[in-house]
């Protein structure tokens, strides 16, 4: 038996590495970053503001959770060992625990210093959150000594726990992870679950899990335990079942591709048709926002994800759609007011979007990628500033905007009331379905392949006979049309348009959605929109975690940086794109694999470095 095969069965461990100077430096660095992170989070006032939302009713609130994850994560990361393919991991032991505890101790010092300073100094002049409320939250109102002792003990404990995670076998870690995901997921989805349970008449189930009559929400202790047990069960029992089901589905898919596709899309459509009836007003409204952003994100996905054009002024097309629909349908639009029905206006919207796509696209497509980004951003601002100015106010209403936009009326057959989220959800869902279908068909078409070729290497694509200029323009135009649909629906939903709804901020949020979800992959974009817009909320729209509204843009920024550094391919990556981004690793893996094969063929049975 070669050691390669042996590796696959039970991981062989090298003896523990001796403790080196660099380990101490690493601990010091992680501890310092942890301390700074704790101080930063405290000063953003997250612990105080998020204290109003509980995770488990009397025990833990989101406010304290926003601090507690730090020592745990850093205690875990400090001893994380990257095991390359063909290398052997070191044996874990007390040093992992000690390192974790030390990191926890060091990071707790950040809070200790902060508590002391909060008590003795007044820095409220520049720092708005520097007040006694924060001090009370950090010390539980029990005095400095109690607070400091508490944080030192808890941080050391959590750091230790983080280190402990390296020692536990997979069989324990996996269920623990699943249990915490289930519990946190339930807490995050609390209001949606509440809505759903009311719709289906399952209030008793909801009330048995969540604390009754608590204005801060949160699971009851028993509820949390039940959910955690469910998470455990998921790993031990259901995981295997799900994997089996997946396999069956895969096989069926291979055998009869079109039939399974039909079945799954029918199921999807049925779900979208039925679900809105059982959801409450709030959840429906939330899903409408998700749908609007999904439509935008799908369009941007074609431009950025498939054709590789970083369009930062994408919001311009959203504005074009919104304003065109508003001007054509509203009776009170200044200057020009034909009062068309929404379905007729949408045709004009498509026309305007094509024109805008060509007009903005043509000057920029020959530019270098980064110049293009700035110039499209400039176009986005130019359009917004023009719409706002007195000069154009004869048509666009200037800063007063356009009011009284009627309901979305489709050829006199249906009328979707803007104020009724349930009706709007059907409208948005229909357009999203259209956009998904179009993206899916385009991705696998001749033009989709041309886009990907342009994204990967423009000169090579040109040499292969692709008209790169036309391909890029087409991407621009398709993206513009999808965004303008979203704008037209937005206008009908809100009943008014103002230039402030079309700030550059929106472009950036859509970009975050596309990138976090997974550039170039439809499922990724859908996941991104659901997770980010649904949970955190859009720039002006609240999400499920409405307490986070003050912090969501901060989180968006941090998330964008973190994704780019750690996982540029997104949550649900596009295979080809992720290969492009990790080319070095792929080459290295391929090289190692080849070596292993050669070694095996030679019968030596030794993996190169051990």
């Amino acid at each position: 038996m070669t050691s390669v095969e042996h590796n696959l069965q039970t991981p062989e461990l090298a003896p523990a590495r001796p403790v080196l100077d660099q380990d101490w430096r690493r601990i010091a660095r992680f501890g310092a970053i942890g301390a700074l992170a704790l101080i930063f989070i405290s000063l953003t006032d997250m612990p105080d503001k998020l204290d109003g939302r509980m995770i488990v009713e009397p025990l833990l609130s989101m406010g304290y959770f926003s601090l507690l994850w730090v020592p745990f994560l850093f205690g875990n990361l400090v001893t994380r060992e990257v095991v390359l393919e063909g290398m052997v991991a070191h044996r874990k032991g007390v040093r992992e625990l000690l390192a974790g505890a030390l990191v926890g101790l060091l990071s707790s010092l950040g809070l200790v210093v902060l508590i002391y300073l909060l008590d003795t100094r007044d820095l409220s002049e520049p720092l708005v959150n520097w007040n006694s409320d924060l001090h009370t939250v950090l010390t539980f109102g029990e005095g400095n000594g109690y607070g400091m002792g508490f944080w030192i003990a808890v941080c050391v404990g959590l750091g230790l726990l983080g280190g402990l995670f390296h020692l536990l076998p997979r069989l324990v870690v996996q269920p623990l992870k699943a249990a915490s995901i289930v519990v946190l997921g339930a807490v995050v989805l609390e209001s949606a679950l509440n809505d759903l349970s009311e719709g289906f008449g399952l209030e008793s189930l909801f009330e048995s899990l969540f604390k009754k009559g608590s204005d801060r929400g949160g699971l009851s202790v028993t509820g949390a335990l039940v959910l955690a047990a469910f998470g455990f069960a998921w790993v031990f029992v259901l995981n295997a079942q799900v994997a089996k089901g997946k396999q069956v589905f895969q096989q069926a898919k291979e055998r009869n591709r079109s039939a399974t596709m039909t079945v799954s899309s029918v199921v999807g459509v049925a779900l979208v048709l039925i679900l809105p009836m059982y959801l409450g007003r709030l959840t429906n409204d939330l899903l409408v926002n998700v749908g609007l952003f999904l439509l935008l994100a799908l369009g941007l996905n074609i431009v950025v994800g498939l054709a590789g054009i970083l369009d930062l002024g994408y919001v311009a097309f959203f504005a074009v759609g919104g304003y065109t629909a508003a001007i054509l349908t509203s009776p009170s639009s200044p200057g020009f007011s034909p009062e068309l029905s929404w379905s007729v206006a949408i045709i004009a919207v498509v026309g305007m979007a094509i024109l805008a796509g060509l007009f903005i696209g043509a000057p920029v497509i020959r530019m270098r990628g980064d110049y293009l980004a700035i110039v499209t951003l400039g176009f986005g601002e130019i359009i917004r500033l023009t719409v706002r100015s007195d000069w154009a106010s004869g048509v666009t209403g200037g800063a007063q905007g356009i009011l009284n936009i009627p309901n979305a009326d489709v050829f006199g057959l249906f009328s979707f009331k803007g104020t009724d989220p349930q009706q709007m959800l059907y409208l948005v869902a229909a357009f999203c379905a259209l956009a998904i279908y179009v993206s899916w068909r385009l991705e696998n078409s001749r033009i989709g392949r041309a886009w990907m070729a342009v994204r990967e290497d423009e000169s090579v694509a040109e040499a292969m006979g692709i008209n790169t200029v036309n391909a890029k323009l087409q991407a621009f135009v398709v993206g513009a049309i999808l965004a303008s649909f979203s704008g037209a629906i937005f206008a009908a939903k809100v009943g008014s348009v103002f230039e402030i709804s079309f700030k550059i901020l929106i472009s950036i949020v859509i970009l975050v959605v596309v990138i976090v979800g997974g550039m170039g992959r439809i499922a990724g974009v859908i996941a991104g929109a659901l997770v980010l817009i649904g949970i955190l909320g859009g720039p002006n729209q609240p999400g499920l975690l409405s307490e986070f509204s003050e912090f969501k843009l901060l989180i968006y920024g941090a998330l964008l940086v973190w994704m780019m550094l750690q996982r540029p391919e997104g949550l649900i990556p596009n295979v080809r794109r992720s290969r492009e981004l990790h080319q070095d690793e792929f080459l290295q893996d391929a090289w190692l694999r080849k070596q292993v094969d050669e070694d095996e063929a030679g019968g030596e049975g030794e993996v190169a470095p051990a």
């Binding site: 000063l43 959150n129 700035i374 176009f379 000069w391 920024g557």
Partner: protein
């Protein structure tokens, strides 16, 4: 094959004709606007002006020099910010979108220091010392921001595809903006009142300059010459130029490339810090979004002057500043555009688009590293 050769070889497509038309349109607009302005200056009652812009009056020299001076002082500020964009683009080949935020951090910390000094009374009693302290603090903070940013967000991305660091920098910019909003509270915050003497007008040749604008011009000129000395006359500057030219060869010559890149970020950050204080002197208040528009305008200035070219960045800043201050009055108003001052920012972007369409390498030529030039 250079792009010029390719253009000659390829037949004209629809896009080319469109671009040709667009260039013509923009040029025509500028010419017609200027022509109408000249006619309006000669006699506001001539038929063309009556038709285009009824009720027009001559632009007085007093108003005109006000526009020129404020255009130049703002332009000098843009130029200082543009240096950071230009240097980083020259060295790393990507737009550091978050540089505008470095400028904002400078303006913010300057505001905090100035207010503290105002409380202590130093701002009133010894303005020169107080402003020097404020400049020092904001330069230190901006430099630190830029250096930390490079270390955390950009260094791990060396060698990544071009768009990745750009997207990262958008995230960094977003993060810094919102950090400021959350830590310091959203909304505008005011600088303390400037001493009386600074709003007096001082006559220099034909121009009468407000004291604070003169101060801005002087500080900008001083920082620019200090930077010029650093880049052209010191060993560090030589290393920076070498790294901008070719990173690999520079490292073979014994230059620590990473350290030089950090220095580049630090110098750019320091310039942005100075610009931040100048913003405070000019406008008197700062918000968390202060960095956004000036940042993009400064990048436009860097492109207008030719990216990677330091003198060009300053000249581009002055060009952009004065055109954004003059163009609404000189071109848009004679054409009968109402509320032309609202379109000031749009003019800045139009200048960028115009320059990129007509002369993509900028007015004074770009200086890029060997791998970015292709």
């Amino acid at each position: 094959m250079t792009s010029a050769m390719r253009h000659k070889a390829a037949p004209r497509t629809g896009v080319d004709w469109f671009l040709f038309f667009l260039r013509g349109l923009l040029l025509g607009l500028v010419t017609v606007g200027l022509g109408a302005f000249v006619l309006q200056q000669i006699d506001p009652a001539n038929p063309v002006t009556e038709w285009l812009n009824p009720g027009a009056s001559r632009l007085s020299w007093d108003a005109a020099q006000g526009l020129i001076v404020s255009g130049l002082s703002q332009g000098a500020m843009y130029g200082l910010i543009a240096l950071g964009y230009s240097m980083v683009y020259g060295v790393l080949g990507f737009i550091n979108f978050a540089h505008g935020e470095v400028f904002m951090v400078g303006a913010m910390t300057g505001m905090i220091t100035a207010n503290k000094l105002d409380h202590g009374g130093l701002w009133e009693s010894n303005f020169v010392l107080a402003i020097l302290i404020a400049v020092a603090v904001s330069v230190v903070c901006s430099t630190l921001t830029a250096v930390v940013m490079e270390r955390v967000a950009y260094r791990p991305l060396r060698g990544a595809p071009r768009l990745i660091p750009l997207i990262t920098s958008i995230g960094v910019s977003f993060f810094i903006q919102n950090t400021s909003a959350v830590l310091l509270g959203p909304g505008a915050k005011n600088y303390p009142r400037l001493p009386e003497g600074l709003s007096d007008r001082i006559g220099i040749g034909p121009l009468e300059i407000e004291g604070k604008k003169l101060l801005v011009l002087v500080v900008a000129a001083a920082s620019m010459s200090a930077l010029w000395y650093l880049v052209e006359r010191t060993k560090t500057g030589k290393a920076m130029r070498a790294v901008a030219e070719d990173k690999e060869i520079a490292s073979l010559m014994g230059i620590d490339v990473d350290r030089t890149i950090v220095t580049t970020f630090a110098v750019g950050g320091a310039m942005a810090g100075v610009a931040g204080i100048l913003w405070g002197i000019l406008f008197g208040s700062v918000t968390e979004f202060t960095g956004f528009l000036p940042g993009i305008k400064a990048f436009s200035a860097a492109v207008v002057g030719g990216i990677g070219n330091l003198g060009g960045a300053m000249a581009g800043g002055l060009t952009l500043g004065s055109s954004e201050s003059l163009a609404p009055q000189l071109i848009l108003e004679p054409l009968g555009v109402t509320g032309h001052t609202q379109l000031k920012d749009a003019v800045a972007f139009l200048v960028l688009i115009f320059v990129l369409l007509v002369r993509p390498t900028g007015l004074f030529g770009e200086r890029l590293s060997s791998e970015d030039r292709t």
